[in-house]
């Protein structure tokens, strides 16, 4: 693991001035992609994701169809201009892995038995990356799914947690992500306390892992409230317009 040349925590504050358990400014909006069945934009500080959901729709080729359940597909991608050094737009191994675990994290919440033989396609695009991109995209995907009317057990809320300079922190920015002693991405269905995505790396004791998971659960619950609020506001307004 790379070591940062400068300390990441000074006088109890992080490099962007936050306290260890403070989130960046979170913005959420729904419905800006007119062609999609559901869409959402979520940003955590400078990290920004736009997600569109298409479906349930017919799945071809036919051999991919399952007779008893529907299929969920996810493509996570980063725009070439989203990072310091231009990113080749072709899918790389990291994106393929993120797409896979995101698909599993979201499928856990979806009643796939409600749309047999069909598919729900979730396209995630990172417009700007400053750490925690996969979880930001999951938060947006969950909103996009809900606004597309996809039947779900619960919303999925996600966040990153980690350890830098011997301090446990939440919502890692890009620099913290790069130089952390450990980082963890967590997604869950908050009302049930069920974890749908978990990726961790670093060097932590079992107690530290559990402590970080408890922090992640708290943060996910906060995000969950914001998600519910933005959904409620969106659909309340639309009803009044009718």
């Amino acid at each position: 693991m790379k070591k940062s040349e400068v300390p990441l925590i000074i006088n109890g504050r992080r490099i962007d001035g936050r306290l260890p358990e403070e989130l960046r400014e979170i913005k959420m909006s729904i419905g800006e992609i007119s062609n999609a069945d559901g869409s959402a934009r979520v940003s955590f500080g400078k990290t920004e994701a736009i997600v569109a959901v298409y479906g349930p729709r017919a799945l071809f080729p036919k051999f991919l169809q399952e007779s008893d359940v529907g299929l969920v597909r996810v493509i996570y991608s980063m725009s070439p201009f989203s990072v310091d050094e231009r990113k080749n737009p072709a899918p790389d191994r990291r994106s393929i892995e993120i797409s896979k675990v995101t698909k599993e994290a979201l499928t856990a919440a979806i009643f796939i038995e409600d749309f047999p033989k069909a598919v729900v396609d979730i396209y995630e695009n990172i417009i700007q990356a400053d750490g925690s991109t996969r979880v930001t995209a999951i938060n947006a995907a969950s909103l996009a799914l809900a606004s597309a009317g996809i039947p779900m057990r619960d919303l999925v809320a996600a966040c990153s947690v980690g350890k830098v300079d011997n301090t446990l922190i939440v919502d890692l920015n890009g620099k913290e992500d790069n130089y952390s002693e450990s980082d963890m991405a967590v997604a869950m269905m908050p009302s049930k306390g069920l974890i749908t995505l978990l990726q961790m790396d670093g060097r932590l004791t079992k107690e530290e892992v559990l402590e970080l998971l408890r922090k992640a659960e708290e943060v996910c619950k906060k995000i969950y409230e914001l998600q519910k609020k933005v959904l409620f506001e969106k659909f309340k307004v639309e009803r009044e317009e009718e």
Partner: protein
């Protein structure tokens, strides 16, 4: 039909092959099985057969770590291994497997990469390539065992006038930890280790846990569409730490 059979057994607290929930199948590990490789190993974990080969090359370091060697892990599910595998570039499962192995080796700091500087601007690139030849479940733990066993028996080749002299060696690759992975399946309220192919089809979800010699957790990854509660994860961590010691003794 097999599915129903496996579930019926698990519901009764049993496994179809008679193992307990915390038991691994028989594990066979051999090292230095490929003489052309700088390090190699073969693992047969209950019928899952994996080769790990280590090749060393000279290359340029990454700009942000100019004094460190480079680790690159790749996994190939050969079409020999299962009727479900088609020839072609690695799919998402192979990519995920390689990336988890990579993270466990890297994050555990098992290889002293800072000792792999040859001269300014030149470092050793350590390639770990996994080739899967038969899939009977728990490819993850088999691949991890094979990778570490191969690295533990890897020798650094001699360099003359900036060129590698293949087959002549100067020293051992500096490997200071033996991280292993313990992959745990969740079925209902039960946690079980070393899933067979049949069990992998029916578990709710899996959790890969990478554990270092000092019980530090160096990587985790949830797989599958099911969920884990916090309590499940706590139990899984205890189980992984316990089983990791057993696996490490085989290396």
């Amino acid at each position: 039909m097999m599915e129903g059979f496996v579930k019926e057994y698990l519901n009764q607290g049993k496994r179809i092959d008679g193992r307990g929930f915390k038991d691994y199948r028989q594990i066979e590990i051999k090292h230095s099985v490929v003489s052309k490789a700088e390090g190699s190993a073969f693992v047969n974990l209950g019928g899952t057969k994996v080769y790990a080969g280590v090749k060393l090359d000279i290359g340029e370091p990454f700009p942000d770590t100019p004094n460190e060697g480079i680790l690159i892990v790749n996994a190939e599910f050969t079409p020999l291994s299962s009727p479900k595998i088609e020839p072609g570039p690695p799919g998402e499962d192979a990519i995920e497997l390689a990336r988890i192995v990579d993270r466990i080796i890297r994050e555990s700091q098992a290889i002293e990469l800072e000792k792999l500087l040859i001269e300014e601007g030149k470092v050793w690139i350590v390639y770990v390539d996994l080739a899967v030849f038969d899939m009977r479940g728990n490819l993850m733990d088999a691949s991890m065992l094979a990778s570490i066993e191969a690295l533990l028996h890897t020798q650094i080749p001699k360099v003359e006038n900036g060129k590698i002299v293949r087959g002549e060696f100067t020293s051992k690759l500096p490997v200071v930890f033996k991280p292993v992975s313990v992959t745990i399946g969740k079925y209902g309220n039960n946690l079980l280790v070393d899933l067979s192919k049949e069990e992998e089809e029916i578990v709710d979800a899996k959790l890969v846990i990478g554990v270092r010699d000092d019980d530090k957790i160096c990587a985790m990854q949830k797989q599958g569409i099911g969920t884990f509660s916090l309590k499940d994860i706590e139990n899984a961590l205890d189980l992984a730490i316990e089983k990791s010691k057993e696996l490490r003794r085989l290396l």
